[in-house]
Symmetry: C2
Subunit: 267 residues, 2 copies
């Protein structure tokens, strides 16, 4: 893929600050950056937005809001406050979307799923006022007890459809959904609700839920077909490389970025 | 659960031979044993079957056949030979079923799924002649590239339905399917095709795909509800405790068995 169609996600080079992420993305000709909120802490967002605009870099996503199921009402309200802050940050950066990592179950799965739906519905008016799109991310089932009870694209599509807002759509990451027999149909179904596309490869064996991922081409996912399916569904945004990898995190940001670029070149 | 309704799977006390598994199951009052094929190597199966019968122990399952997708025709034929041997072993032990771990993808997922279907259809007449039931096991999506491309109960039900044989059904393990929003409906759909039920708990964090499991009650799965759903669907067989756990494998077989019994007592 031409890098101008791609975005460098900050977590791929975890440990790098905003300036390093932006510098690397600009130097190599990425079309944008995806920003986890750790790099936004203590950052002047107005200046950051200006810096990115001057470099011709879009913010393809901010990560993350969500975590709607909470064990107490106090925590639920605190989480909602944080979600509104995330919306504000995404707005300040003119981001294409804010990712929603919907949250894990505390006890009953069905109840957690109801809390997710209610939480998104509660956040939606605030996002609407800010003009920020919310991207529900279906996450790998191995994360159901730690990060999200939304475990397939079908479930995410059902959820988005039930909320029925032009501001609420899907963020899809190859790593989370590649195994699903229903994936091609569900990508087509997502259609113009597809707000973001991310790439990371599945490498066997894993050593944990979170950071065993590979650069595109290192694992077993057919990335070319995955991107093609998203494009056939109508996706025209940037494709992010977002690789949570203990292995690549042990390298310098430059080395990891070069590996990401090599992977993207093969798609 | 009363232990007479439960079965002790040999892999829960990996390293134990057939005699130790049978002795422990008999001593504690299990209704049966589940046997992985490593404990059947060099074993006189006729004598083993007699020993179990005299102790009033059923063989609730033999694990495993399957692994249908193979990169070459030679390997495919060798695998089918091994599957026939597994059927023979299950027959000799009068096992309730032979588990099918259907196999991972070599390349294209859809092609692998076709090879799985074709492989089961090819094995079915041999199983029929032996009177052995084949239990398709939907496995956790994190195993799609290492063990099975059949990643949900819906997919397994679809597969079993398409083969349409009274000898081909489902083996369901809580660990692999608990996260699925469609699970209750799909368990009900499985109905009398449910040939086996296994229990292992999901414990966060995992340290790999295979052996991060917990005894019932150690993790986040509602085991009581899971068993109840299977029983409402009509399941009347033994419920196996099958826990692949590096943690419990480091204990003695006796300690692990006692932990399994404590977990089952809470259901």
């Amino acid at each position: 893929m031409d890098l101008s169609r791609c975005s460098l996600n900050s977590v791929t080079i975890k440990g790098s600050g905003f300036t390093e992420v932006a510098d690397l993305a600009e130097k190599w000709g990425f079309g944008g950056v995806g920003l986890w909120r750790d790099v936004l802490e203590d950052l002047d967002l107005t200046a950051a937005a200006t810096r990115l605009r001057q470099s011709g870099l879009r913010v393809s996503s901010v990560c993350r809001g969500g975590m709607f199921p909470q064990p107490t009402e106090l925590l639920r309200r605190k989480t909602m406050d944080d979600n509104r802050l995330a919306v504000d940050q995404a707005h300040a950066l003119n981001a294409d979307c804010l990712y929603l990592v919907c949250g894990a179950a505390y006890g009953d799965l069905a109840d957690a799923r109801r809390q997710v739906r209610d939480g998104i519905a509660e956040l939606e008016p605030y996002a609407r006022a800010a003009g920020v799109r919310l991207a529900v991310e279906p996450m790998h089932p191995m994360m159901a007890s730690s990060r999200s009870v939304i475990t397939s694209l079908q479930e995410a599509n059902d959820l988005v459809q039930s909320i029925d807002s032009d501001l609420v759509g899907i963020g899809i990451d190859s790593y989370h959904v590649w195994w699903d027999a229903a994936l091609p149909d569900q990508i087509a179904r997502a259609g113009d609700k597809l707000f973001s596309v991310q790439l990371a490869d599945w490498v066997t064996p894993i050593h944990g839920e979170l950071s065993s991922r590979g650069m595109p081409g290192e694992g077993c996912i057919d990335m070319t077909e995955f991107v093609a399916q998203c494009e056939r569904a109508g996706y025209r945004g940037l494709v992010e490389v977002e690789v949570l990898s203990d292995r690549w995190w042990a390298e310098t940001a430059l080395v990891a970025t070069e590996a990401a670029i090599e992977g993207l070149a093969r798609i």
